[in-house]
Amino acid sequence: MRRAALPGWLVWGGLAFAIAVPLIAALFSPQLAWRGPVYTVAGFSGVVGLALLLIQPLLAGGFLPGLSVARARVLHRISGAALVLCVVLHVAGLWITSPPDVIDALLFVSPTPFAAWGVVAMWAIFASALIVVLRRRLAVPVHIWRRAHSVLAVTIVVGSVVHAALILGTMEPWSKYLLSALVVIATGKVIYDRRAWVRRIR
């Protein structure tokens, strides 16, 4: 069990700050004035999803003080399920707002450069959830599971961060870049610490 190098209040406070600032900044976006409720919810599902991408590696890596390994794992699963819900709300809300734009994105023929990154991340999130659900039933070996989950996690993070960075949306750019950078650093740290690509001799 790793010991957090930083005091607990600082870690939790930093996490709350890193998530609250972009969320609050997005709530003050002038663009919201020209959006109806469905489009607004669709947009914020994306923002919340990006925030969950910061929580996920922190839970997986045991970086959040005061949480047992078992508790962190349960929260990681709940947060993962919430991420799936965010993606579903995001895509469904956008579909209702403008069906042809979402169809273009899903078919990888969108004129916007960020759409494909988001769609790839979406499928990687769905694939992660599917493996979690089927893991026991299919008796997936642990090392295969770890590698698959690592590859999917990296795909999700890279896809989502590029997707978010290129979008001119409700998120305030600097808070968006800061949150994205933290997501990349936290994910990179956990992926490196775990080294799922190394076959452990048992």
Binding site: D104, V109, P111, L168
Partner: protein, 162 residues
Amino acid sequence: MPKTFITRRTVLAATGAVLVSATSGLITPAQAQTWVPTKTMRGGANNYIPGAQVVERIGGGGFIMSGTVRRAGDGAPLAGQRIQVWAHTTEGYESDPESHGATLTDENGVYRLDMPQIVPAFGQAHAHLAYDDDAFETVFLRPLLSSPSDTTLSADFVLQPA
């Protein structure tokens, strides 16, 4: 003694002059500049509603959408062509019928339509334009604003006779 105008010297000089000017680009053939037909852009037809009415302006106006319409090949300006415009603006979604309008080109092939301020939608501030009458082949455009605070946008059409 009759004076000879065309001597070997004048022929050589004239030929040389023509060669020099032709290779240096001083002589321009009449059809040298060919206007290539504008291609439909990806996503250009999204949220298109056929038959937008020619209007004085869309909604309250304040944003100027303009451009030229020319014939492919010779680039002749095309007068009286109907250009349809729609976008996500401060007054409505792309899919709202009242976000759509059309205008006609003047004698110089120039169109100009006053419309509400375009705001970013689906991650980019952009407009949609269509030419879909019978005389020329249909073209859908989806130009981007270089900044969401821009209050003008231009998009040009080069149309292929149908």
